[in-house]
Structures are given as C-alpha cells and as structure tokens.
Symmetry: C3
Subunit: 660 residues, 3 copies
C-alpha cells in the first residue's frame, strides 16, 4: 500500500481532536503543500473514540481521516492505549501502576497503567480490535503505531499492584525451584533466601539497596510484560490490517525495557528525536555544563546519532531495513522530530537557525526513510502548551516550518548505511551497571557514548547492535560496557575474532554472570581466554582524582588494571595504587581499555581501525561525517564557520557531497 | 475604641501562656516603658482556652488581658485556629490535611487542618464564638487577628481527604456540565476527559505533570476554602465584637491563595516581616548567592518593600487605608516584625546594627501605621527556641530592644503614600506561570520583582495592585507578568491607556486564557489590538546562554520576540535564533519588554516615567527613597557609608527629610 | 579461653556459607599462614541456621567451625538477628520498621525489623538461645558479636508500627502525668498539649518541624529499645557461653542511639573502620571537597582516630580496657577493617599503597588489641559484590593481603593509651544540636571534630569520654558541643575544675535543659557560675559571611558572644553585630570559645595545654603522633614525603619510635 520512494519523505504528528473540525481540511492541504506525505493520527484519542464504556464514536475520526486522505496524505494510525480514559480507571483502579516509592500513580496525565493488569490487557485488546476493525483496511491508512513511548516517565516498571502479584509466577516459570532462585540471586548473602514463592516482592522500599540479582530479574520481568502487552496488539493489527506496517515510537536513551525484545515483531522501529531536550534532560551522567551550553541550540550530534544508529539496528537487520526492502518508508523513522523548542526540560532553548534542517539531514544519513515532525500545530491546551509545532498557537508558520519548506528532499537518497564497525549494546548490562555503578560519575550510557563519540569523531559510521548479534563481516567490533557475559555470547565474540574481526572492550566487560553475580574466577569469566587476562584492580575516582597512564593520558572516574595471562600491556598506569599495572592490553585481535580517558579511547580506537583498514579522519570539534547510499553528509554542529578540507562549513549547516 | 495617632505606633507579640503568671505585670509595664502601645495575644492558645472538649478555661487569659490593660496596652486578640488541640485531632483525624505526596500530615506542630473539613469548620466557628463572646467587648481589646499565616508550610492546599471530597462539587457549581469542564481544561489532550464528577481528584501523584488547567482550578478551589473559612470567623467577630477591627497576618511572598479574595472583608491587612529570613529562604529563584551574602544582615530592601506595597493595596483602597480613615492604627500593620535573628532559614544571621530601626522606618514609609515586633521574649521551649525577641531567653534586653528604645516615633507621621505608579499583580497568573515556568531560572516572583526593583532603583513609589484594579489616575502602570488575560481585564487596561496612563508589560503578558489554555490567536489574546503585536518566538535560556539586544543589552533566562501589527520595535535582537526580531515594542502609550535584562528594563522604565512626568533618580546600589505624608525617607541598606546628593549616609541607616 | 598476647593480633570476617564447603579448610589454612588468629563467623546466617520455622540446620556450621578450629583460629560467633529470614517476616509483617516518611520498609536487604516488636523480640531471644546452646561452649568460640551495626541505614528508629505503639507507655513510665510531660516538652507553645497518652505519636510527618523535646524523647525511647533488645541477647549469651566475651560492632559517627547506654554490659566495644568510605560518606557537614580529594586514598586521620578514641572509651574504663585486663584481646577491636575499596560511597577509591598497614598501626596505637579485616574473600553475589576483600573474587591475594602479610606485629605492643586530655561527648547533645542546628554548615559532629582535630594537630592523645564521666586526673577537659546541661553534670565539671583540671568549652555549651528547652536564665544555665558569664548573642553565618575576632582570627558558620559576670574576655569581636563583645572568655581554669575558627580553637587549646603541662607539637598537615604502651607512632597520611624533626617520613607510612 505504501509507495516506494527513492528519497527521504516527511510527515507530521497531528491531532484533529485538538482543534475545531473546520481546520482539518485546511491543515491537510497545508501539509501537502509543505511537501509532507505522512500524518500520524489518534495517538491519545481513546476518550473520543469511546466516550463511555462500549460506546464508540468514529464519526469524527472518519471525517478527519477523509480530510487527510483527500489531500493524498498517508495515515499512521495509533492504538490509544497510552491514555486509558477516566471511566475505565475509576471503574478499575487496580489498573493504576505503583511508583518506586510504593505509591499509586493516579489518573490525570498519561501512561497510568500497569502492563501486568489483566483488566487492562483485556481493554487494550478490545480497543485495539475496535480501532483496527474500523481503519485496518482504510486506503489512507498505511501503518500503525502501538501505544506511545513505552516506559516514558518511569512507567517501564510498576512496583506494586498487578506487577507485584504477577512477579512470583514469572519467577517460578523461570527457575522451577526456590533453591535455583536462591542460588541464582545469591540470597544466602543476607539471609534473603525465600522458602515460598509468595514471599517475593518487587525490589522496592528495602532498608538499604536491594540485591542486584533481584533488580535484574524484576527488570526482565517488567520488560517481558511490555513485550507481551505489545505483542497482543500487534497480533490483532496483523489480523485486521493486512499489508500495513506496525511500529512503535521509542524514546531517547530509554532503559525501562529490553528494546531488542520489544521491537521483535514490528516491521521497523521509529523513535522520537528531541535534540535540545535530549542534551538538557537525557544526557548521560558526567556531561559538562559547558557542553550543554555550547550545544544548547542544536543538541549534541553524537547523542542524537547514537539513538539513530541504535534504532536502525534494533530489529537486527544489518542496515536496519524492514520487511519490504530498501527504498520504501519501512524504516527506521523518526516518528516525532523536534522542529522548535520542547517544553519538558529544565531549559528549553530555541533551536539555532538551520538546526531543523540539520537534524532532518542527519536522520536521513543515519538511515531514516521518513522524518515526521512533532507536531503540526502547537497545542493551545493542557500539559504541552509550551511545546512548539510547525505552526504556532496562532496557526502562523514557525521558523521550523520555514526550514522544512526550504528543504530539497532530492538530495537525500535512501539506501544502506555502510557501517564496517559495530558497537555492542545490551539492556541487561545497562541494568546491572547502573544498579551498582560504584562511581557517581559513571553510568552505562556515559561509558557507551564515550566510545561511540570517539568513533564518530574519527568520521566512522557505526552500527549499534545487540551484544548477541551476528558479528560476521564487521571489521571492528567495540564493546564499551557489556558487563554481563554468557558463555554463548563469549563464544559468539570468539567466533567473530576468529573470523578476523577486531574486538575492543571497555572496562567492566564480562564482570557479571547472567544472574548478576560476579564470575567466581573473576572478570573476564568465560571471555578470559579470548582476552588473555584477568582483572587485577578497579579504582573509582572522584572528580579531581585521576590515574595517570603512560603516553600522557589520565583516567577520570574509572580505572582498572589486569593480570596478564597471554595478553600484553600496551599502556600501563603511572603512580598511584595501580602503578605499573596494565591499563590497556592486547591479545591478538582483542584489545581491552581499562582506563576511562577520552583521549586514550580515541587513540586506541584509531590504531585498531587503521589496522583493520577502516579509514579515519580527525574531525574538528562539532564536525561530523555520515554516509548513506553512496554519498557523504558533512555536518557543522557549531555556531561558527569551520574550515575543513578546503571548505568553509557555515554555522549549523550540512553539505551532501558525492562519494562515501 | 482605638485612639487616633498622628504617627507610627509600636507593639509586640506576647505569649503569657509561655511564662509564669508572675511575669505578666512586669512584661506589660516594660512594654509600656519601651513605648509600645499594642500587644497581640493568644495566637496559639487553644489548648489553654479549652483544655478538654467543651471545657473552657478563661481565668488565665482574663488575668493576662487585665495585666496588659492595666498598663494601657491595647490588645489584638486572636482566633486560635492555627493550632487545633490534640483531643480534637485524635477524635476527628479526618481534619488532618494531605501533603503534595499524598500523605496525611500529622499533629505535632501547627496548621494541621484541612480548610474543607466540615468538622473543623464547625469547631472553628465554635471556638471563635467562644473567644469572641469572652473578649469581644473587653475595653482592652481593639481588634482581632484571624488564625495565623494562612498557607504557611504549604498548607494552602490539601491534596486528599476533605478537600478531595469537596472539589468535584465546587467544579460542578462552576461549570454546570462536564462538557464545559472538559472543554475549559482541554481534557481531550491526553484523553483526560471526565464522564462523571466523582472521577475528578486533586492534581497529585499523576504519572507526569498534571494539566495546568486542573492545577489552576484546584488552586482557585483551595483559595475559596480559605476565604470561606475566614469569612465564617469574621462574621462571628463582627457580631460579637462591634467596633473592633479584624485583620489577618499574611506571609512573605505567599502564593498559596488569592490574597485579594481572602483579604476582602477585613479592615486592613497586616503581614509578618522577617527581612533576613526572607532573603535567605523566600527570595525569588535566580537571586544570586552574592546578593544573599551582601544583604545577609539587612535583607534586600526591594523584597521587603514589595511586600509592604502589596499588603498596603491588598484591600483595594488606593493608598491602603482601612475603614476608619487615615491617622488611626487601621492599616496596614506589620503584625510580626523581626527584631533579631529568625530560626527557620538555612542560615539565620544577626541583623546589622541599625537594621531594626531601618526596617521600622521603611515599614512606616511604605504605609504601616503600626509595627509590632515578634516577639516580646524569646521562647524557651519548643520549635522556636532559636528565634530572638526584644528580650532574650534570660529576659535581658537584646540589641533589638535597644534600637526600639532609641526610636523617635515623632519623625514618622502617618498619611498617604503618594504613588503615581502602579505595578499589577495577580495570583492566577502566578499559579499558571509557576506551573509551567519553561525556564528553571524564571518564576512569577522573579519577573515581578525585577520590574519592581527597577522602579525602586529609580526612586519611584509604587502601589502594588490587583491586575483588575481601577487604574485611573496612575501615570504609569507596569504589568510585569500578568500572563492570564480576561476580556474584562484587557478592556480595563485599554480604558486606562485611553485615559492617558502609560502601560509597560513584561514577557508572557496575556499568554493565557482564564482557564489556563493559550489564546488560540496566540499571545496577546484580547490585548492584541492594544499592544499592536503578536508573539513571534520565546526562548528559554540556560545560565550562560544569552540573547543580545540592540543597545548593548543581553537577555538572561528568557527572551521573546514579536510580530508587529501596528506597534514599532524600539529594540531588536542581535544574532541567535531571534536575530532581527523585536525585543521591545511600542504602540502608542503601551510598551512591551520581551527580553529579560535588568538593565534594559530599568532603561525602558526610566524613559516611560520621564515621558509621564514621574521624576526619577539614579540611586546608588543599596540606597532607596520612600515617601509618605509629605516627607522623604532616605535609606542606606549597605554596610558602608554612601555619598549621595551631598550627604553621607551612614551604614544601615535612614534619614527623614522634609519634602516628597 | 582466649590466650593473652603481648602485641596486636589480627583476624578476618569470613562467610563460609557464601562459598562451597570445599573452600573452608583452604581458607582456614591460608588465614593461619597469613598470621590471622581470629575469625568472625555466621553474622547474617539465620536463613541457613533455621531454613524453615523451628527447623534448625547446624551441620554446615559445625563443619565450618571445625575447619577453622583445626587451624587454631579463634572464632567470634554472631547472633544473626540483623537479618530475619523471609519466612519470619512474611508470617509477621508487623516486625517491619517504618521510615521517617511513614513508609513500611520491606524485606529484601537487612535490618528490616523494629526493635519494639514483641514478636521479633521473642524470635531474637529464641535464635540467640539456639545458637548459644550450640556453640556457647565450643572450644573454638572465644566470643560473641551481637547482631550487626545497630542503627545502620537509619534503622535506629522506626516511625510507626511497634515503636509507635510502645512510645506512649515509655512516656508514661518516664513522666507519670501528662502535665509533667506537657511541661517538660513546652507543649503549650503551639497548643501541642496532650490530654491522653494515646494521643502521642512519633515525631513524623508533622506539618512543619516537630517539637525538639518530642524528638529528644523519641530518640531516647528508641535508644532504650536497642539497649533492651541487646541486653536480652547478652543475658542469654552470659548464661550459655560462660567465659566468652560479648561485644558489638559499632558504626562510624553513628547517632542513632546512645552508645554509652547500649555498650553497657558488653565486655568491650568494637567498631567497623572504613577510612575511605568514612571520608566520602560520613564526613561531618562542612568538610571541603578539597579535603575529600586530598585524603581520598587514606581517609582523614582525625576522623578515623576520633572513632577509635570514642569506642575505646565507650564502656567507661579510663583506657578502654575490658574485663580481663590489658594484654588480652579484650578490646577495643576493629571488628571490620577496610583492606581495599568499599562499595557503598558515591566514589570508592583504591587505598593508597601502605594505607592498610597505616590503618592497622593507627588502630593499634589508639588502643585496639585486635584488627579484623573485612572480609576474607570478596563476595561474588548480591549487594556487596563491588566490595573488596583480602582475596579477590578470583581468590587471588589483593594488595591488602600483601600489606597484611608484610606486617611485623611485634612492633605493636599492647598496653595503655596515656591520654591526659579528655574530650566530652554526649548523644543527647548531638540529637538536640542537630534537631536545630540553626546554621546549615554546622552540626554536632563538625563542631566536635574541629576541637578533636585541633588537639590531634598538636600531637596530643585524647580520651573521648561521656560528658558524665569521672574527669578526675585529666589535665585538660574539652567540651566542644555539650549543649544539654544537667545540674549533676555541671556539678561534676565544677568538681573537676576544683580539682585542678582545665576546662575548655565550645559554643552552645549548656544552652539546653535536660528536656530540650533552653535555660530560662539563658546559657549557661547551671554552669553559669563556673563559666562566669551568660550568652549575649549568637550569629549564624552563611558561607562568605564572617565575624572578625581580635588577633587576626575570623569566625565561620557560627559566632557567639558573652555578657561577663566574673569571666574576662581574652578575644573580642571586631566589627559587625557582635563588635566589641567577648569571643573567648576565661574564668579561672575555665575557657569558653564562642567563635568557630579552626585557627583560634587551636591557638587557645595550645595555650591551655601548655599551662597544664601537656606537651604540644605543631605537626605538619597530615602528620600525626599517637602513643601507646611507651612507644610513639609517627604517621604520614599524605601522598608526599614529609620532613619532620630530622626524619623523612615516606608517603602514607608510619614509624614506631621508642618513648612516648
Ligand atoms: Zn510523544
Ligand atoms: Zn507567626
Ligand atoms: Zn558489616
């Protein structure tokens, strides 16, 4: 149903229910005139679809869909389950989730449901079926978005109620016996052993921190709930809306569930890209205020690109293609693209002139087939009145609109992203790492982004892929923070190295067992023979305390050293408690960097990339290169002109140049 | 009953129940000897008035009142409802309020009641009647204070219990139909539409922020409860204590209710003036640590003066006179005046030598007829032992006492404050602004005080008046942050401008509708034709990010630009996303300042004041002028001598000079 | 049973239940070979001792004890009551404590019980009896540790449940009548008077701060619960394990109970010494980030030494000897000694090379007879996987192990610590001080440590003793922050001064009555005639605001002045609100320092010490002297070599030199 296109396409998120019906035809015409070809509808419209229990009202939505259809716009329809209406919640308050303080979270905003609630599951299926029956085969409808931004606002887990009730049975299914569970969690530690499944509760309001293995399984359990919740919707949509795509709009740096699990079964992933709010609100721990100020009007290129590369690969396809092949709007998309200030960060700056175009071009270069702006017109009511749109409150075009109007889409051909480097990512490692970071300045995202950013500063394209992905064919694989290691994962990595891939690991790699304990033989557990070393010491560094490393480097926040068993040290610590011990080690094609130093990471990666024949370029601060479909996108993210390879790059701008 | 005086009078807050009965006569005599003529009594004495349910004990209070009467002191009696006793609370725990985390707030300090509690309302009327019957016509009693510091400690709203139960009915009275409510709140936004009044709860513990319209109505509802609670007491006092004044002691920068509503029905307003604690604890967001340190021993003159000017005008009279005319202790008062360190701020410095006299003089110059020090003797028990008094714990005179003793009251004639400039204030705007500040460094108070302080630095007297006040006769009206605009308000402003008044508005003026949405035609809604412009862009600026403005100015924290429709730009932005767009606009006698820059605000105001024939003076840092009854109070709030117009002003001092 | 030793002995904390049984014999042998002679066992092993209600399993522990016994190790056995198992908690959820937010604290970590719970008390006695019957007379068992780290994680008080239920009766026992209680608490203040015992609740969730007298009695009540809880265990252990010592492992700077009360009945005290985590996590308010960075790898010598000196004296013996006399492992011990990074601070640095030896030597010099390292092998599971041990996760010796192996214990003879100076400490003063600190930068610990550190920087040995201790024989007694004064205490101090002791007091001394009010005659209440002065003014100083003192000093955070009544001023304030008033006063052999200035405190103390004939030395930053048994331990806590008295002290090192 969706026509193929040879270049990037655009859309917007529109909410006909928020404006008088007489605006619909006008908006649809304006969207077409602006060059938009997609529109997302009905995301939060449950109370209008079903104003009272079982009483559906489709008339308004029929008219709205027709209005867009009449202008040739292709509609992405939504299941409205992110916003169950008041009548449902007040009739079934047991749907409400619990927060991490053990309090019931009330109706009055959005996402006020527990994924485990049997009642809510039933209503989710019912409303999905109803909307799918109505619009599943409508000629304007080309695809579906499930719910909205799973886990946003800390809703990935509910710490009581339905989730608490369901947890023991999930554990029983997993472990079979309490002995197995007690052993896996190490519950003997503080006499935390259970003698009845019903004794087990969510890891909340404990006197001091809960057992990290308890946390890990609660996160897995909660993630499975989201996966199953969505799978029920997807099954209904597949049945009632054949030939349409089904996707979800994922969040920035969201850690509330295992995205690899939840994305499975979708056609492609989309995500919601708010570069300025991302830097202000979602930036990894340790991001300096100076960086936040310098990039306040554009966001940081690597934070944004990381999410693009993550969601391009979240379904596992090598270059992120969905089920219908290249050249179709089949993914990934940016489902919601900032086109002016957001409203939800502590500060919400106006984007720089050119930023909306730069973001759009970057999205394309990192694999997006469609970029859909949020939102068509700024809302005049409720929680998001301070958020911008392509039209202002007064329906006047904003600067964002003007930048979109000036875009030449023909310069953005669709096609593969030619990454020869993979960066490994793993939600279970993220959960364990952040449950016990051991250094207030470190986190999984901080460590992962440091390696990603080093690669990007060298002009390298990166696939972010699952730590369990097939790695064959990659010249270099980087594992910044894969702290949980399974024997299978270790074997897969060893196979890749055996096949000629070069592997670079960050600190804390393979520190943990699958149940969240440490390997009894110590880091690197089952990866030890590949690495040719064991952990010797780790050092958690407060700001101001650093560990010097040979070659003039200095580790901040984290440093670890190794006992060599075959590997060789390429860098050693100088002075301090790790004096003379290995900081970076090499064992054949495997390198481990134990010292957290951005300069060191970059230099080691440059060396490995050069060995592997992956070309690198030393890019100036704020300049980035991305490649797609045989062309190169050169980007200047700074507010100043930059001289680069004989060109002058204008502030906040891009150029598409031939050749990769 | 209250004799008229031609000059300022003094009093103190005394608690005979806190000391042995043998001290009462001594204290009364000492107070008379110090020159005090008023004493406030029995503020928190419920458990002594009624030790057990229905069992009154007046003997002690009779004796105490007689002791003060014998020395000629005039008594302000209190309704003791800020402190319901344990027997009442434990018998009726449903009186207890809920905090914003949904928790019941327990007995054990003060203000532990929900204004909506029917049981508490009944007991409030009962104890008011009992105390009024006993003392309403006592010759020593000249007036009444209701309760104490409404809304202090976040008690302006209860988020559960009785308030939660009463809210739906208040809404039903206001809206009539749920359709009207859903429309007014924009509940369609996230399917927040209600289909039954009983579904509606306080805006608390929602998953993410609640609807600002929901917040706005909850704040209005809560404010109405306080208004009605007090009105019941006032009616009883009017009945049983004829000829006496009734007032309330309001708080510093309190936003817990609409003071214009609650003050109505009182004879005049009083407030509790703690300059050092105010700066440390209540200063608007964005007040620098350097300012807090520089004025740590005096408080900031403009923060204090703002509250004086606010409460002088809160009853609506042009120069704050109460019902009995000028020259009487009829208001406003300072009911509690700091005379030494407070105990409730993070730091509680000793006032500078001279500060108590300076505060007293300033209070007079801004309209106070009576200044009553808190408290006579420092408490030797319970929560406020660290708070100072005119006497120390040991009954020795403190520095505050000595400064009061040295005051020459004859230099402080009562009479009108001759303000020709009005600054507009509005609690609904405050609530909406702070519900969605959009910039962590901005707030309603910060923006309002910035304009107020600019006026004061120019030597200008200011009436702070309701945004709906009669503005006729003012040369200049300043509306720093009136973000909620009604058609009636817009018309009133237009009438004033038509009548020759000059109007200066700050950013975000007229951004919101009465229900808290934004105007569909955009800012300035119904004020647009008066302003001759619409909003173009707003820019929320993190510290370190600024927007340059022509003339060498630089906007911090907030900048907005306009699309001209008749107005002309007097200043434009230079560079950045607002480049070339209007920053300050002028349309006839109306000026709008979109850029938050203290220097720009001051310079624009100076120009408008000069046009309007209001004289201005460029005062040095920390020097202020205030005028009353034909004389001028020159104040030096700094710790250094200041040369000014040929005089040397001693550190922390004042001079009263003839002429206004 | 415990053989006497002439020098320091070592041990470790081991958890056989955490590792396979086949490791036990190996570990025991390794411990013996390392020179350890003690091992602490079974601290948290309840779920293994009693896997199901009433079903005991001793087989594993029998085997473990035998394994250690076979190698000649002496066992300290534990009552496992810090970790009640799940079956007990789920059967009796009323055991669970409440936090200071009024929430039930759940099972899933440790210390999840309310000391007041009758059910838990019964089970505590039962399991204590069971384990004591099994091991009380085992030849390997030489002593007992009760529970673990009372009050850790804020568990010293429960704010609901069983504690709330028991509080009124405790009050009734104490006060007899409600009139007495209301009077003692000053409840008239805000009508907080009670008319029924049942009306009284814990001081929690009050609208604003609770009455400090209410807090004080709740803390006393809670402390009594801990005392009684432990006393029940001690009685059983005395009965069933004759000839063995009983101790408890106390916490760093713990304020959750009165340690003098709880320690009574033990043979000696032990404590858990984590120098790096102490500095990062437990350092008193006001400790600079620069100090935390400078000493990140050693901890601060004075914070550590203070705890040594505190616990050496907590049983009241003059030099901390237990019941069996000097030369035995009879106390004090360090029960848990850091030997590598901890896991529970925001940052957890590796100790400097030499730090483990330095800590061990310091512990000995401050009176420890035994130092027991935590833990033998790093845990591979659960909450503390990031914590170090003498062996790593991989059973490899750590740097800590290597430092222990290299220790020459013969250089550490046991014997008395020859302190001629006592520093007074009082938990009730601590509670009152911190309930109303009046300055965000001050606290009881900060003030106390400032005086302690000044003494230590002068090379002086200090006994930390109860404010009610027998002071006879001390040359100088320092009372840094004894704000609660009883007539008996005042008399005891006067007697000491009469006997020739010199007394130096800090600010706020004798400000409060035993019930937490202020003295009606003002500070110094019953101590006034001894001091020869009364308080005049106190000044709470924000950072950046200082009060100059004659002699070139400057007070930070706090300054108070006096009205002389016999005393003489040795230093006066210069400028500011205290200008010309006394800052330091002297009355015979009593000195009071009102200004908080580290330099002033040190200089005044130096003068008094010299007068008293106590020799002083001006030590360089980071150098410390300690004396024991006739020898001197010279310590360099800095990372650089230090020249001192003709020696070069290596970085992070010590020397034992002959002579005291
Ligand atoms: Zn969204
Ligand atoms: Zn008050
Ligand atoms: Zn421990």
């Amino acid at each position: 149903m969706t026509e193929r296109s040879t270049h990037l396409q655009l859309g917007s998120c529109d909410y006909p229910e928020h404006v008088p019906a007489d605006r619909w035809a006008t908006y649809a015409r304006q969207q077409r005139e602006l060059g938009l070809t997609f529109v997302r509808l009905a995301e939060f419209a449950w109370s209008r679809m079903e104003p009272r229990p079982g009483e559906y009202d489709w008339a308004w939505l029929d008219r709205a869909v027709e209005a867009y259809h009449a202008e040739g716009l292709r509609v992405v329809m939504c299941t409205p389950t992110a916003t169950p209406p008041a009548w449902l919640i007040r009739a079934h308050p047991e749907i409400l989730p619990y927060d991490a303080q053990g309090r019931v979270r009330d109706f009055g905003s959005r996402r006020h449901y527990d994924f485990a609630s049997p009642v809510y599951r039933e209503h989710s299926r019912r409303i999905t079926r109803a909307v799918a029956e109505r619009y599943g085969q409508h000629p304007a409808v080309v695809g579906w978005q499930t719910d909205n931004e799973f886990a946003c606002h800390g809703t990935g887990r509910s710490y009581g109620g339905a989730s608490a009730a369901a947890f023991p049975e999930w554990l029983r299914q997993k472990y079979g016996t309490l002995d197995a569970l007690n052993e896996a969690w190490g519950n003997v530690f503080w006499s935390m052993e259970y003698s009845d499944w019903g004794q087990i509760r969510p890891p909340v309001l404990t006197v001091t921190e809960p057992n990290p293995s308890h946390i890990l399984d609660y996160y897995r359990f909660s993630s499975d709930l989201i996966r199953d919740f969505q799978a029920e919707q997807v099954a209904i949509l597949r049945e009632l809306s054949p030939g349409r795509f089904v996707t979800h709009n994922f969040m920035i740096f969201e850690s509330g569930f295992d995205h690899y699990e939840v994305a499975r079964g979708l056609d492609f992933a989309t995500w919601d890209n708010y570069p300025t709010g991302m830097l202000e609100f979602f930036a990894p721990s340790g991001t300096g205020e100076d960086v936040k100020t310098r990039y306040a009007r554009t966001g940081h290129p690597d934070l944004i690109a990381f999410n693009h590369d993550l969601y391009r690969g979240v379904l596992g396809g090598r270059n992120g293609l969905g089920r219908e092949g290249a050249g179709t709007p089949n993914g990934p998309w940016v489902m919601e693209q900032e086109c002016g200030p957001v409203n939800w960060a502590p500060y919400n700056a106006q984007p720089a002139p050119g930023a909306v175009q730069l973001w759009t071009a970057q999205a394309w270069a990192h694999g997006a087939d469609v970029v859909s702006y949020f939102r068509w017109r700024a809302a005049t009511m409720a929680q998001e009145v301070m958020h911008s749109g392509l039209l202002g409150h007064d329906e006047q075009p904003t600067r964002g609109y003007e930048e979109v109007a000036a875009l030449d889409l023909g310069q953005f051909p669709v096609g593969p992203v030619p990454a020869r480097v993979a960066l490994l990512h793993d939600y279970e490692s993220l959960w364990l790492y952040d449950a016990q970071p051991h250094s207030a300045s470190m986190s999984y995202w901080a460590q992962t982004v440091a390696y990603y950013s080093a690669l990007r500063s060298l002009g390298v394209d990166v696939d972010v892929v699952s730590a369990d992905a097939d790695l064959s064919g990659y010249a270099v694989v980087v594992a910044p923070a894969i702290t949980l290691m399974t024997p299978e994962r270790a074997q897969r990595w060893a196979d890749a190295v055996q096949g000629g891939t070069r592997l670079v690991c960050g600190p804390r790699t393979a520190f943990r067992t699958p149940s969240g304990q440490t390997w009894a033989e110590g880091q690197f557990g089952p990866l030890s023979s590949l690495v040719g070393a064991h952990l010797r010491q780790y050092d958690s560094l407060r700001p101001g305390l650093e560990d010097a490393v040979s070659g003039g480097y200095s580790a901040r926040f984290w440093a670890e050293s190794y006992r060599l068993e075959g590997a060789q040290a390429t860098h050693t610590y100088r002075g301090g408690p790790l004096d003379g011990e290995p900081a970076v080690i090499r064992h054949g094609n495997v390198t481990v960097i134990g010292a957290h130093s951005e300069a060191l990471i970059r230099d080691v990666l440059r060396g490995v990339l050069e060995e592997a024949g992956v070309p690198t370029t030393d890019l100036p601060e704020g300049v980035r290169l991305s490649h797609r479909a045989g062309v190169t996108l050169v980007q200047n993210w700074t507010g100043q002109p930059v001289e680069w390879q004989g060109r002058t790059l204008a502030p906040v701008s891009f150029e598409v140049i031939a050749g990769a």
